[in-house]
């Protein structure tokens, strides 16, 4: 199974998403667990403008906010790794 790696720039971007510690744990649990485990499902979702990348989605509630993430992942540079190259993040108030 491939191993997910994250550049310092992406780590910093995740750190700026106003997540609680538990929220940050969920992000990295998804990148470490679901992403490589479900790689076969996600790999077909190539980025429309760059075929080296595919998209991985995550969404979870953290406090009063719903956070959504679209990660851009490079599976072309290394056969053993999934390199998180970029991310799109949004948050919105939860409907209660």
């Amino acid at each position: 199974m491939r191993r997910t790696v994250v550049s310092p720039e992406i780590t910093r971007m995740i750190g700026e998403c106003r997540l609680t510690r538990l929220g940050a744990v969920r992000v990295y649990a998804g990148l470490h667990g679901e992403l490589p485990q479900r790689y076969d499902r996600y790999r077909g979702l190539r980025h429309p403008e760059d075929g080296r990348l595919f998209l991985f989605f995550d969404a979870f509630a953290d406090g009063d906010l719903m956070h959504t993430f679209t990660f851009h992942v490079d599976d072309s540079t290394s056969a053993e790794h999934l390199i998180v190259i970029d991310l799109e993040h949004e948050s919105r108030q939860l409907r209660r």
Binding site: S7, E9, T11, D58, A61, T68
Partner: protein
């Protein structure tokens, strides 16, 4: 199939339990034997767990199909999926309440009930999370940032990219997000 067939199976499962629970909800107030009440509580916990699991399977099936590009009308399919999952969530809440009423009548704790109650409470939020993911499928895509890609690849070549597992371990140990 199968998406429609699976939806119908789930609908039938929900309807069956909704009808059943209507009658037992009223009967819970009238009392009865303790052993029978415990058995009824246990029955509803079983049924509730079944509905929860079938909802998880329903989501997993639709999500897998959507990722594979095999859901042509994702808007309509997503709306239908949300209705079914939310209906399941409401039913789980009712099932948990009825099971609790019968457990109280029995005067003893019923196996798995506390865990099922917790799962029932968490279920509506799980549905919201699933549907937020679903909406991402049709979200406008950001163009790749060529400079960021180049920086990430250089960082990878220099061995500066960190395994997500290491960051996760650090977070779980209460250490800072970024490496010191």
């Amino acid at each position: 199939m199968p998406a429609d067939m699976l939806d119908r199976l789930q609908e039938n499962k929900l309807r069956g339990l909704e009808e059943l629970i209507d009658s037992y909800q009223a009967a819970a107030a009238t009392g009865g034997g303790e052993d029978e009440a415990a058995a009824i509580a246990d029955f509803f916990v079983d049924e509730g767990i079944g509905v929860r699991l079938s909802s998880l399977r329903l989501w997993d099936y639709h999500w897998t199909m959507a990722l594979a590009g095999q859901v042509p009308d994702r808007g309509a399919r997503g709306a239908k999926l949300r209705l079914l999952l939310e209906r399941g969530g409401r039913l789980l809440g009712r099932v948990a309440a009825v099971a609790r009423a019968y457990a109280d009548l029995a005067g003893r704790e019923v196996a798995r009930l506390a865990q099922f109650e917790e799962q029932s409470r968490a279920f509506p939020l799980w549905v919201e999370e699933c549907m937020a993911r679903w909406e991402l499928l049709d979200h406008p895509r950001k163009s790749p940032d060529r400079e960021r890609i180049a920086r990430a690849q250089e960082a990878f070549q220099r061995g500066e990219c960190e395994p997500a597992s290491d960051i996760l371990a650090r977070l779980e140990n209460g250490s800072p997000l970024a490496q010191e």
